[in-house]
Amino acid sequence: MNRHLISAGDLSRDDALLILDTAEELARVSERSIKKLPTLRGRTVVNLFFEDSTRTRISFEAAAKRLSADVINFSAKGSSVSKGESLKDTALTLEAMGADAVVIRHGASGAPHRLANWVHGSVVNAGDGTHEHPTQALLDAFSMRRRLGALDGRTVTIVGDVLHSRVARSNVLLLATLGADVTLVAPPTLLPVAVDTWPCAVSYDLDAVLPKSDVVMMLRVQKERMNAAYFPSEREYSRRYGLDRDRFAKMPDEAIVMHPGPMNRGMEIAAEVADSPRSTIVEQVANGVTIRMAVLYLLLGGETA
């Protein structure tokens, strides 16, 4: 495996399977009454969050702590960053503190690539702009595998704002590596212009795709898109691309529903779909801690499981 985890595209099939298998073993540990492992004792993990994301930050924090690492949380608000410190100077500061891994969430696509030039420790991308969110894709793949078994030949439909979605980019890359067949469904305004070069299929018609889907992953629609002419209105979006009860009924009986959260209930997903037994949304959160443990363990632990 590489020293960093910045793009899901950097993972070979063997790398990805190793992470998923390691997570499977660590999940068994999490079922014990004492959840903590001594593996990363004495190592320092910095959570460097330039965007507010309590969910992702506490997930990484819990993962590092269960492996006995020391965790430093550095959030941009109220820190030197809000006083105009550059990413590079922040990186050099963390470097001087001896960070073994830096988990970075940043609003600018590519910020983790830049950070990796300036620190010696491992860089883990916890979401960069509209680029990638590889641990989300890994936890999604882990959640799918737990419900459905191996992903080879499985059909995964990802619905929504692909253009601005780091979750979609990472999932397309990772799922292609794992042998799944991905179809993106979105209004044409929310797909990148060259999406035909991606390793997936594209459709504008959710109803046509649903009956063939083993997994339907709904993406969050950001509020700021709603006023930028990407689609006429929230209600029209919801009618054409929302997963409501009628559409849910068209899915195969064993098919599952996913959402990376936070959800707009009633917009891209109906409440009763989100809360159904075939929804993995709550499991995804739990699996997030496990997969992040596996990633930190493999990047910092040095040995294989």
Binding site: L87, A111, T130, V193
Partner: protein
């Protein structure tokens, strides 16, 4: 003074005698003083840049008139047009005269200020174009470069108004509504990298509109830094109508492509490749080269855009746009145009000296190398290949995309009205 053993536009070796800043004699062997040995270098008419950012006044941390003109001299330039997006903006006779005087004082090359089209580059009200034209700086080129004059009525009026003093509007063609937050060329790479796309159509739509406006009012139009194959098609069509339109291309758009943002020796998302207009695709590069060769694009202009280190050592979206280019322009043009067989040295002289001087209405520059013309000359050795070393630049800034690349050729000497500004590759 005699410059010996040089080849005019790559022709047979000759000696050139210069007296009182003017070429006095050209002959195979001129008797007299030992003079300066040209070592068989090519002689070109001193290069003229129609698009330089000298940053003074306002951003003297990035470049000054002194360092910028030293950089120009090292690149073989004897005249540069200083863009108007300084602080304060060059939108009054006072500011353009200040820049012009600084150029005269340092005398590394002539500095011809460009005036802003609109007050403060704001795109709302015409600047006092006539006052700048009548000033000591004799402004003939007007540009809001960095910003597009996107208001069609304002652009029409500007095109019409400058006819009174033979001026030209140099347009930065970029439809602002199509490029909100844009970061790089919109295409395969931007989609993968999750960077907001900068569509080719944003440039092409403005070029098409401006060509039609210029034709309608019978004015001169100059199109800055053309970057797309579609723009080339529009220009080819507009020129076929006989309209009075000229266009430039930068060296970097002749050589570099947008995939460098994803994959390069300096790492992904390195803002050294962030520039406006953005680097485009290989197909665009090929179209631009062909257009420069066939004259659809008239000239090469550097868009030399110095930025301090801290404005580039950032995440991509926070970084400044632009590249320095004066000291690498001729080498890049050799690599992209001459060594590929698309252009000979006479063609290089045409695209980098004669025509830019004509568009800028600069007298004394861009003349054929013959007896009686001012001795503005560039000696260039195309036979060497060297690694680009930014620390050797005369420019105050180091934001070159060519660091570590091996490029052909070296400027041996530059003469401004007979006075050497560069000898043996070093500033005099």
């Amino acid at each position: 003074m005699i410059v010996r053993n040089v080849r005019i536009l790559g022709g047979e070796p000759v000696d050139i005698r210069i007296e009182d800043g003017v070429i006095a004699e050209i002959a195979p062997e001129i008797a007299g003083e030992p003079g300066i040995d040209g070592g068989g270098a090519i002689v070109l008419p001193g290069l003229v840049d129609l698009h330089t950012h000298l940053r003074e006044p306002g951003r003297e941390d990035a470049e000054t008139v002194q360092t910028g003109t030293q950089s120009a001299a090292r690149g073989g330039y004897t005249a540069v047009h200083a863009m108007a997006n300084t602080s304060p903006v060059a939108d009054t006779a006072g500011v353009v005269e200040q820049v012009w005087r600084l150029g005269r004082e340092f005398a590394h090359c002539d500095v011809q200020p460009v005036g802003a089209v609109t007050v403060g580059l704001e795109g709302r009200q015409l600047a006092e174009l006539g006052a700048m034209a009548d000033s000591a700086a004799r402004v003939r080129v007007f540009s809001d470069d960095g910003r597009c004059v996107d208001d069609a009525v304002l652009m029409r009026r500007a095109l019409e108004y400058v006819k009174a003093f033979d001026g030209v509007i140099a347009q930065h063609a970029q439809e602002p509504r199509l490029t909100g937050g844009a970061q790089m060329n919109e295409g395969v790479v931007s989609g993968r990298l999750g960077l907001t796309g900068w569509p080719a159509v944003a440039e092409e739509a403005i070029i098409a509109r401006d060509c039609l406006l210029a034709a309608h009012v019978g004015s001169r139009l100059h199109v800055c830094h053309v970057s797309t194959a579609g723009s080339v098609e529009i220009l080819r069509w507009a020129k076929s109508k006989g309209w009075n339109i000229t266009a430039e291309v930068t060296p970097h758009h002749l050589l570099l492509t947008d995939d460098l943002v994803e994959d390069s020796p300096v790492g992904a998302y390195n803002p050294i490749y962030k520039v406006n207009p953005p680097l485009r695709t290989r197909a665009d590069v090929e179209a631009l080269r062909a257009a420069l060769a066939d004259g659809t694009i008239d000239i090469v202009a550097t868009d030399h855009a110095p930025h301090p280190v801290e404005d580039k050592e950032t995440e991509w979206s926070a970084a400044a746009m632009g590249m320095v280019g004066l000291e690498t322009a001729l080498s890049v043009v050799q690599e992209a145009m001459v060594d590929t067989g698309l252009l000979d040295w006479a063609g290089v002289a045409d695209r980098m000296s004669i025509v830019p001087a004509r568009i800028g209405r600069l007298s004394g520059h861009g003349q054929p190398i013959e007896v009686g013309v001012p001795a503005n000359l560039t000696l260039y050795d195309p036979s060497v290949r060297t690694e680009v070393d930014p620390s050797a630049f005369a420019s105050k800034s180091r934001n070159t995309p060519y660091e570590g690349m091996t490029l052909p050729g070296r400027v041996v000497a530059t003469f401004l009205r007979g006075k050497p500004t560069v000898l043996e590759g070093k500033l005099v």
